[in-house]
């Protein structure tokens, strides 16, 4: 018995303990469908919903066209609207019916060509076109308004060329959009979404599995063995790191092959920065688990402190630059913010090193702080 009690090599027994913890966790992952579901099914579902369901582009917007006095000019303008991929126009005889349709949400906007619409007014530089847009959804309204102006400007240009007239155009805009020339919102939503998914996998998974050990009373049994705090933590981090990277690879594969998001940077930069971010998320999850000792509470805390902020404050959908200064400052505490910036850069722009390195440094600092806090706060005690 004596030899059993005093293993000759302490390093060997430390290795054995860590190995035992990792094997146990792996077996639990393989037998419990819920962690696999969080790591693989959740990204699949979220990406499908966001990739297909959410688009910030306006297409086939229903609008009302009111022409008070049809002429050759009005019909060429209305046909420009009919041919635009952005609009789905319906003709209305009178502005009152069109307004009714707008109120009933049958259309999102009205283009009203008054009876004085014609060559004279055009050349005089007065605008005889009335445009109404439903402003309830401000973002959408601005996009529709922009598109309407675009159609109008294009038509005006063609019209003046055909007439040999010079229409007053104070500035001619020449636009070129970089990195996402097609202006496909999906291309920047999907990389941002990957960051949100990774936050969820990392924080939710670790917070829940540690809480589960508390709930089932196994943590108490673990703590009275010679296992060290470091080994308990590594035993959680390593398996869920691997699982998280699996979820990450799945998300990247879907982004590239299913959603055709261009990957302009290298896969290695992507994986390296992802690994860094996953450590931050896992650290966050473990930190939550030191506070929340049942699964329900851990889940709630993880969603409120990691997933929701990542969704709202990471710049994934809502532009950080247009937030109030105080909120902008808060976004600096959200790890996902840095990762969203990295992912959008690596996917859409390639290796813009100043962006990648600065954000990676921020992630590194956060990761070190979280893991150090976790190490300090986790004790082999029940209080």
């Amino acid at each position: 018995m004596k030899t059993m009690k005093h293993p000759d090599s302490t390093r060997r027994s430390a290795g054995m303990r860590l190995h035992g913890m990792i094997r146990k966790e792996t077996l639990q992952i393989l037998r419990d469908p819920s962690s696999i579901a969080i790591a693989f099914v959740l990204p699949l579902v979220l990406l499908l919903i966001f990739g297909y369901g959410v688009s910030l582009d306006a297409e086939h917007v229903p609008i009302a066209l009111v022409v008070e006095h049809p002429s050759a000019q009005t019909s060429s303008l209305t046909s420009a609207f009919y041919h635009s991929p952005y609009f789905d126009p319906t003709g209305y005889p009178h502005i009152r019916q069109a307004e009714e349709a707008l109120r009933e949400k049958k259309v999102d906007g009205i283009v009203w060509l008054r009876d004085n619409f014609g060559g004279e007014t055009l050349s005089a530089g007065r605008s005889p076109v009335g445009v109404f847009v439903n402003g309830v959804d401000a973002n959408n309204a601005r996009i529709i308004q922009g598109y309407m102006e675009g159609v109008w400007a294009k038509w005006l240009e063609q019209f003046s060329a055909a007439q040999g007239m010079s229409v007053e155009m104070p500035v001619t805009l020449e636009q070129r959009i970089w990195f996402n020339p097609g202006l496909r919102s999906r291309d920047y939503l999907v990389p941002g979404l990957i960051a949100v998914i990774m936050t969820l996998i990392g924080a939710l998974l670790t917070a829940m599995v540690v809480a589960r050990e508390w709930e089932r009373g196994t943590m108490e049994a673990l703590m009275v063995t010679p296992v060290s705090v470091r080994e308990i933590l590594l035993g959680k981090i390593i398996p869920y790191f691997i699982l998280g990277m699996g979820g990450m690879l799945l998300s990247v594969a879907m982004a590239v092959w299913l959603f055709q998001v261009p990957l302009r940077g290298s896969l290695w930069v992507l994986l390296g920065t992802s690994a860094l971010f996953l450590l931050v998320a896992l650290g966050m999850g473990l930190l939550i688990s030191t506070l929340a000792k049942n699964q329900f509470m851990a889940g709630q805390v993880a969603i409120i402190t990691t997933f929701l902020p990542a969704f709202i404050l990471s710049g994934f959908i809502f532009d950080i630059g247009s937030m109030p200064a105080a909120i902008q400052w808060i976004t600096r505490l959200i790890g996902a913010r840095y990762f969203v910036a990295i992912l959008q850069t690596v996917f859409l722009a390639g290796h813009v090193w100043p962006v990648i390195l600065a954000n990676s440094l921020a992630l590194l600092i956060m990761g070190v702080i979280f893991l150090a806090l976790v190490k300090r706060r986790t004790q082999k005690r029940l209080e």
């Binding site: 018995m1 030899t3 059993m4 009690k5 293993p7 027994s13 054995m16 303990r17 190995h19 035992g20 913890m21 094997r23 146990k24 077996l27 639990q28 037998r31 419990d32 089932r216 009373g217 196994t218 108490e220 049994a221 673990l222 703590m223 009275v224 063995t225 010679p226 296992v227 060290s228 082999k380 005690r381 029940l382 209080e383």
Partner: protein, 591 residues
Amino acid sequence: MPSFPADSPSMEASLILEDVTKRFRSGGRIVHALDAFSARVRRGTVTGLIGPDGSGKTTLMRLIVGLLLPDHGRLTALGIDVIRNPLAVQESVGYMPQRFGLYEDLTVRENLDLYADLQGVLPEQRSARYSELMHMTGLARFTGRLAGDLSGGMKQKLGLACTLVRSPDLLLLDEPTVGVDPVSRRELWSIVYRLVEQEGMTVLLSTAYLDEAERCQEVILIHQGKPVGQGKPGDFSARLTGRTFHVTSPVVNKRTLQESLARAPGVIDAVIQGDGVRLVTAPGASPDPAVLLPGRSDIRVAPVFPRFEDSFVTLLKKDSENPSPVFGKPDRRPAAPTEEDVIVVQHVKRRFGSFYAVKDISFTVRRGEVFGLLGANGAGKSTTFRMLCGLLPASEGMLRVAGKDLRRAAAMARARIGYMAQRFSLYAGLSVLENLRFFSSVYGLRGGNQRKRLEWAMNEFQLGSMADVISGNLPLGYKQRLALAAALMHEPEILFLDEPTSGVDPLARREFWNRINALSVQGVTILVTTHFMEEAEYCDRLVIMADGEILSQGTPADMKERFRSAERPEPSLEDAFIGLMETRQPRELVS
């Protein structure tokens, strides 16, 4: 195994507790979980830490393994200061927490591997140790089975095996026998003794079952965080020699007998046991029937051997000044005894998927009877109970409660039932009065009627001083009183009690049963589930259940009588239970 003279100064203690104090804050109140607790555990002994729930047993165990820090005092385990060096203690002490610490989604073998890894058992040492442990626990056939699919008794043995992968010098077991069937309990005890003999281990085992004290070599009694006594269990009982009796009467009902005896002069304790009353008298008091109950010549008083529980109650009563409380005046006139069957269960089965939780059971309960369902966790008691409360439909068979067929009129039957759930199911955030008001309005009490019942509950259960206390902060005994009061607000004619006194201290248990007796005398029919053998003694009749079947029915005395033998002249209900389990063939190892 060298034996140590009992009081030799060179005697080595495996565990020394000096002045250990631990306080917790609970809802604004400071709870003294342990109050200047001092004790010693001798090396190579099996020592029992015995006390009711909430007495501080688990806190003490956790302090010994360094999972908690004491506010005061010193703990020395195997010569190591626990406070300074918890890791060193954890490396040499084995500890099985109350919930065994098993991973249910891992197999038996994988659980063993994990703990062997964590305890630093080298791979080359494992196979010999595993086969030893598997042989000892009888789990060898199940190494590939998930721990979650094992029965309660097997889980407990696997938990023990995991704690023992590295043979520790000091083994701490926190309530290892709670809720497991008596056969598994007995097996656990034989394993514990084998460990002490073969490996020279010291064992400290906590339990709320007072009858287990007699199996220990030494016991430490704990009550409300304080040590009440320490010594050999026999010594405790020996003090009561000549003071314990069994009283029977051919004419008087045992409940009436108990009530009068409890008030008789010189009586310390009177509890119902079998067909009579067990009596503990004060030193020097005469057990003469003429003195005990003047004017009654028909009672028979026979001396019996003192039990451990007798001495524990005597010790506790010495501390508390107030005599055992007696349930007040009946609020209803005693009902005439009838032969009416109030609960009828006929060939009832309950299936969950392909698993039969209850397999074809039948029994009837008469008005005013106290009827028990006795069995281990997983025996089918709770399922039967839920079906009787109309909470769960039976898959097959007939259930009638208070004349109502539960399949057709479950709601009507329910209005005539009072139910007290196992964990009391009170609203922890509401005060005592608010809880009572809520439960009475749920049962449709309004206005003056409700006020009358509230007043009744406050007086009858002595809850007046606690009316505004948040019930989550109540001591266990008061919670139990409140739960019973809540169940009785609508004056039900049938009362269902689910494990009512599991873990409460013996004094509170006596008080509780005094109330139940009084109710039964008034004609209330009472159905009790329990895995507590002692509790079953209070029943008029009972059924013993295992694996969803009824093994036996009858009065407690009948059941014991069947297992009386030369080597067991005074069998306990537990002996009867084990005897029944053994005669079942073949004994199923898995439920």
